[in-house]
Symmetry: C2
Subunit: 422 residues, 2 copies
């Protein structure tokens, strides 16, 4: 390849990290290729709303091609990554092999069961649209079956929902499930009263949202309890089988619906890289986000293990992925212009700026902390709504989501309560 | 059972017929049970929009329980009908057996392949949300594969879409597919030009929409051709295999996407009734819509064969199903009040009032005929839009659908272009 042929930039994954990189990269003469196994970018923070029938699947997803259609030097391939060959500077997909000059690995995370992969079958996680639609179907079908069930014990099991893990996803799921059963489904059944459904949230720490400031964590725990969620803190799961969760105190919770929100790990493809990983399989990258020994390869987002300047680990959240993407896009843009791969030491290190975090608990409650202040209750919920609507990519989705929310806020109906087999 | 115990009315199917019956029945002391194998009522006339990525699935569906939640004597069972036992006055479901005093069979139709069930695998029909989502996935994936395909013949096959059958569904599908390829997808791909995709519509008659007045049928045929659809009239299909349609003149069309819109038949459960059926398996009912020999059993909608007073067969369209439902609800309401099953001869015969029909061809063209006048082009499209939005059940869906349409009309983007595996 001559020095004047266009440089090839390959991006694996079109999540928040991969897409932001493409949008921030300023290299019109480069050939950019994005690979994702889905045709859509997913707005993951709202996935729990699809799982609890608040939103329909297309409302939180946007075709990757549409998002990038104005970037004429960017090509999108719908395919799965099979092998990353760092030595040959190529990536093997199911359908073809793509060579690169620069590689950005932004494949995100997967649901992790901490050494118990057999739990996956009984307690699905929430990472993709498929997961969300499957959970929605499962929850709605349980109530349908409870309505026809004559055995009281079986009926109770069908109407018990356990969420394992009290991080933001677990809290949002438990809150939304409590509302679904208490307000949305109440009028629809004749024999059962969906409001009697039990939503149980299991968390190992003394409070939910243990990464939030203590005051907010306590507030969130109390809010969930006031909504009728049975919050079991300082409890661990010993085993999960079909329809039953055994806790570390020996108690067995019989529940037809068990949802896993307790752990994420890096994409298993990181194990092929031959570089040092942390316990969750995340790549220990250089301070500039490059992969050790390969200055032309970067890893960003949830599959990265990196310390911030204050010595704290950078969290696996979408703002961090987007900030890393922007940082790496800057490095690659400059080097493509000067046509040299700079030594890693000369590149600026990545600095994460924590702009705060928030979690919504229900129809009008949330907790939020920012650098300067904290919010709880309705004010936090409004802030949450504002931030999420602003971040949603694509005009149509913003408007449709707003209308959905306004409507379900006003009427407590849910428009997406549809069970489909595929 | 004593004469004063509540009478049990069992309704099989919650399509337009079954739901209208429940809503029109005036018998507060009766116990009404509705059985459907889906939890949602489907607005079938817009199904082609889901298949062509114009609308998302929940936008044209509404939970049956919500629609009927105000009718307190009505119970909904999500289950599949296995056997109808007219002699015992009971219906066997997968999960239970339900007895009745009055039975209304409103199970609708299925896609029929006229003695070629093996074509079903290669040429899906469009009757359910699952069908629509599967077709959407198939069409969008073909373009994704075409973008990566290097063999020109394979690329052409991936970009050829054949629709068999030029009735309203076939015309609407072909028109929407032509727009999807010509306007929606055009900017999204780098290697292929989706506007070069071929949409071929096969119809045995000399014109499409052959049941419409001739002038409108000619107009529709010309409109489709102007939109780039290759309309092949007076052509029949000889065979369908994976990726290929053979026509009666020996020509073979290589197409990865083949959609079947050429025939509907009655639900196969009609064969269990032991009564006379027509060739399509539809029940030859008495003039009051009751099943011969069983005055307490009615059949309505697409699975009924009945002549109107003018000697013409009543068409299998939703207005006919809804009019039959209303007629039968009147009979049953009166008889429940007087607590006698009247002789069939004394009941009023059903009279179908044809209020006209319409078919949309694209973004701003349609054909419509009413008793007094006909419309084509944009005026017909506006009439079509108005009628369909007015008929959509449930406020939320109406508003969301209107916004979707307004948005896609203004921008030519499609919001529901999401490929999911389930």
């Amino acid at each position: 390849m001559s020095d004047h042929s266009p440089k090839r930039v390959l991006v694996l994954g079109a999540g928040f990290g991969g897409l932001t990189f493409c949008q921030e990269l300023s290299a019109p003469s480069a050939e950019v290729t994005v690979v994702d196994r889905q045709n859509h970018h997913l707005f993951q923070p709202l996935l729990y709303q699809v799982a609890t029938a608040g939103l329909s699947a297309p409302e939180i997803a946007q075709p990757i091609r549409s998002i990038l259609s104005d970037q004429e030097n960017t090509r999108v391939i719908l395919d799965e990554v099979k092998e990353i060959r760092l030595a040959e500077k190529s990536v093997v997909l199911q359908g073809q092999t793509v060579s690169y000059d620069y590689l950005v690995i932004a494949l995100g995370g997967i649901t992790a069961y901490f050494g118990h992969p057999e739990w996956a079958e009984h307690a699905p996680g929430l990472k993709s649209l498929e997961d969300a639609v499957r959970i929605r179907r499962q929850v709605l079908l349980c109530f349908e079956r409870a309505e026809s069930e004559l055995d009281p014990a079986a009926q109770k099991r069908l109407m018990t929902l356990v969420v394992v893990g009290g991080g933001p996803t677990g809290v949002e799921l438990a809150g939304a499930l409590a509302e679904l059963t208490r307000f949305v489904l109440t009028k629809d059944f004749r024999r059962i009263d969906p409001a009697l459904a039990q939503v149980i949230l299991i968390e190992a720490s003394p409070v939910v949202l243990s990464n939030f400031p203590q005051e907010l964590a306590i507030n969130a725990t109390a809010t969930l309890r006031a909504m009728g969620v049975d919050v079991r803190t300082e409890r661990k799961v010993r085993s999960i089988t079909q329809g039953a969760v055994e806790l570390d105190n020996g108690e067995v919770l019989e529940a037809e619906t068990i949802l896993w929100a307790a752990g994420v790990g890096a994409s298993p493809l990181t194990r092929q890289l031959g570089v040092e990983l942390d316990r969750a399989g995340r790549v220990k990258v250089n301070p500039d986000c490059s992969v050790p020994g390969h200055p032309e390869v970067f890893a960003i987002g949830d599959l990265v293990s990196l310390m911030n300047e204050d010595g704290k680990p950078i969290p696996g959240v979408s703002p961090a992925a987007m900030q890393m993407a922007k940082h790496v896009a800057g490095i690659v843009s400059r080097e493509l212009q000067s046509r040299t791969v700079a030594p890693v030491e000369s590149r600026p290190p990545f600095r994460y700026r924590d702009k705060g975090s928030m979690a919504t608990i229900g129809r009008s409650a949330a907790v939020a902390h920012f650098k300067e202040f904290q919010l709880t209750g309705f004010a936090a919920w409004l802030a949450w709504l504002l931030v999420h609507v602003l971040f949603l990519i694509g005009f149509r989705n913003k408007l449709a989501v707003l209308i959905q929310w306004a409507y379900s806020y006003l009427t407590y109906k849910r428009g997406s309560r549809i069970i489909t087999k595929i």
